[in-house]
């Protein structure tokens, strides 16, 4: 990644300074100190074929914060998350309307190189998915993609990333063993190490703990707190306690039944500070959900 402060996602497109403050106009702002806006999502709708999966979402993701997406199944949390690094491109029928500005650059601008977007915006998936390669090669995969060849540099990145993912001490004497030989929680931390090895600005996490036991989950949550000073994290979770524990801001999504077609569309109900969402939500549906009366 380029030096902190300067970033460009287009091949020859505009260069934007990210330390230039942007006016935040997110709905119902309640904090005085707001980080810089990384993602500015406006009127985002996502379609799978003719079916609208998410309708008119508006939110700001801020730097060095953990933003949690919560909501019942099928409400479009993951769909929105996967728009942030254009993973939906791989789904043939997926179509996006509205804009997602990443530091002022429209991610879906035809000039934007989606591969470069994914390099800057890393992702950790629901199920740990290490490559069937050694631990070292798993972490070194991203840097090697970016053209890093020198052993000393790679060693350095691998060590830093594994330390960053709180995995180094557990695997340092078996770096050449297969990544598949690790436990589930270790594999997920390996995937986090792999994601941070390319030094992304944002890490998207799609229910990263749903396949893990409580102890491994706690480790990942601690890890998120540790790395949030360096990265911006967006996490999708089914676990409300997790959202309450780790996130700074929470977006609550729910589903609306379309009266004509009987298909359900996800809508963003409320987006605010996590504290407020869980203590004094502005919407009745949010209150019902976080108090466990629905969903």
């Amino acid at each position: 990644m380029t030096e902190q402060g300067v970033t460009s996602v287009t091949d020859q497109g505009p260069t934007i300074r990210i330390d230039e403050p942007r006016a935040g106009d997110a709905p119902s702002e309640t904090t005085a100190v707001d980080g810089h806006v990384v993602f500015d999502v406006r009127d985002l709708s996502v379609y799978y074929g003719p079916f609208r999966a998410v309708r008119d979402a508006n939110l700001h993701i801020r730097q060095h914060e953990i933003t949690a997406f919560i909501g019942p199944s099928g409400c479009g949390k993951t769909t929105v998350l996967r728009c942030f690094n254009r993973m939906n491109d791989f789904i043939e029928t997926a179509r996006v309307e509205g804009t997602i500005n990443y530091h002022g650059v429209d991610l879906y601008d035809p000039q934007v190189n989606s591969t470069e977007v994914r390099r800057r915006i890393g992702m950790v998936f629901q199920k740990p998915n290490p490559f069937p390669k050694s631990i070292y090669d798993n972490v070194a995969y991203g840097p090697r993609l970016a053209g890093m060849k020198k052993k000393a540099e790679l060693d350095d990145v691998v060590e830093k990333s594994l330390r960053g993912a709180a995995l180094w001490d557990e695997v340092k004497d078996r770096l050449k063993n297969s990544g598949l030989g690790l436990s589930g929680g270790q594999q997920q931390r390996l995937c986090i190490a792999r994601a941070i090895a390319v030094d992304p600005e944002v890490i998207l996490m799609d229910e990263p703990c749903s396949a893990l036991d409580p102890i491994a989950t706690a480790r990942i949550e601690d890890l998120m707190q540790e790395i949030k000073s360096k990265f911006t994290i967006v996490i999708v979770t089914h676990n409300m306690q997790q959202a309450a524990r780790v996130s700074d801001r929470t977006a609550f999504f729910t589903t609306e039944v379309n009266p004509e077609s009987d298909r359900r569309t996800g809508v963003l109900v409320e987006y605010d500070l996590t504290k407020k969402i869980f203590s004094n939500p502005g919407d009745e549906r949010t209150e019902q959900y976080v108090t466990g009366r629905f969903g």
């Binding site: 791989f90 043939e92 890393g122 998915n129 390669k133 991203g142 060590e159 770096l175 297969s178 990544g179």
Partner: protein, 389 residues
């Protein structure tokens, strides 16, 4: 009384032996005395049917209905497996038995047939030309087919193009292509239209046509088994499509791809008709695949076995035996080289990985390397701290 379904008790053995004996006796009675039937096959079938019936009746005295069904099914399935194995075994045994008189002479592997006539003893002449011809043709076919087939399989699995279904249908249709048609096609295009001579190369091309669909079909299946989550993981790191395929999909599917290549070779190495058409048969060693006929083992076996001379027939069966051994050797090599599923290490690989891990640790963080026996103290020995408990 509960019956253990996994073990085989003494009582079971006694029952099987008794029932077996009685069914053979009954078959002898029915076959020889009561009916005017005769013949070994009929006897065996009758004995088997009687065996199953008697066994079921005998079991039903002591066992419950599900247990009787279980036993009868076990007998039927075991019999089916035995028939298949006996068929396979007898083919191999018969070939080696008929070829043994030729196989036991060393000159069979070091000489060709250019000076040896059909009536000459087996101490002269051999099938070296066919062995070398088969190896050369298989090698050329592999060079032609593997890149093409893997590329095509990658296209089938990775592309979202509409042509995928058409290509898949054509490939499926090609698997049913009679080999003689492939031979005629190459003969018509390569030899007649383009004017190249009949040669080992022409034969290799026609063999390739037979191998291609087999490899593509199985490679297609294998590549589709690579979890989509791995493709996503690579893409999320900013890997372009081709790098995902090259660094993640293909290495992950390596062992399966090896199997598909083996299947292709198994098909190609035994092809006779196209080789006969496009290369022809030669009795002398020919190392140049671009000119003059080149013999292959199946063609040689075919030619020699059709001779009336017993020595030639022995040589023919010998050639077939050599072909079988060669296939076995090639497969073993392929299995060893590409066999393990990605991410699984053999004991030796694990040992090497452990040593490399220590070397990495020494390089990255020298102070934390344990004092344990250092690398190279005894090459390949697992350092003490890494030994499995």
């Amino acid at each position: 009384m509960p019956r253990s379904i996994s073990s085989f008790s003494k009582r079971d053995a006694q029952m099987l032996a008794g029932v077996g004996l009685s069914s053979i006796c009954m078959a002898a009675l029915i076959f020889g005395r009561l009916t005017p039937l005769h013949g070994r096959l009929g006897f065996a079938v009758t004995a088997f049917v009687l065996f199953v019936v008697t066994y079921a009746v005998m079991s039903s005295f002591t066992e419950s209905r599900p247990a009787v069904i279980d036993r009868v099914m076990t007998v039927l399935l075991t019999a089916a497996a035995a028939v298949a194995l006996v068929a396979l075994g007898s083919v191999i045994f018969f070939t080696f038995k008929r070829g043994w008189t030729a196989l036991r002479h060393l000159n069979f592997y070091t000489e060709d047939l250019r000076v040896t006539g059909p009536e000459q003893p087996l101490t002269s002449g051999g099938v070296l030309h066919a062995i070398v011809g088969t190896l050369i043709m298989t090698a050329i076919s592999l060079v032609l087919t593997v890149p093409l087939a893997v590329t095509c399989a990658v296209f089938l699995t990775e592309s979202k193009s509409r042509a995928v279904n058409a290509v898949r249908t054509i490939v499926t249709a090609m698997t049913a292509l009679p080999s003689i048609v492939a031979g005629l096609f190459i003969f018509a295009t390569w030899v007649l239209v383009l004017g190249f001579p009949r040669s080992g190369l022409a034969a290799s091309i026609s063999i390739s046509i037979m191998m291609l669909p087999i490899i593509i079909r199985s490679a297609d299946v294998v590549l589709r088994l690579v979890p989509g989550s791995l493709r996503e993981a690579a893409a999320a790191l900013g890997a372009p499509r081709w790098r995902t395929v090259w660094h993640v999909v293909l290495p992950t599917a390596r062992s399966g791809l090896t199997t598909s290549v083996i299947l292709g070779v198994a098909r190609g190495i035994g092809e006779t008709a196209p080789v006969l058409l496009t290369s022809g048969y030669a009795t002398s060693l020919n190392l140049d695949p671009t000119n003059n006929p080149m013999a292959s083992l199946p063609v040689t076996a075919f030619k020699l076995v059709s001779s009336p001379e017993p020595n030639q027939i022995a040589r023919g069966f010998g050639a077939a035996s050599v072909l079988m051994v060669m296939v076995l050797v090639l497969f073993t090599i392929a299995r060893v080289l590409g066999g393990r599923p990605a991410g699984r290490q053999s004991t030796r690989q694990a040992r090497r990985a452990a040593a490399q891990s220590l070397a990495d640790l020494a390089r990255i963080e020298p102070e934390s390397v344990p004092e344990a026996p250092q690398l190279g103290e005894r090459a390949g020995r697992l350092p003490a701290i890494l030994q499995r408990k």
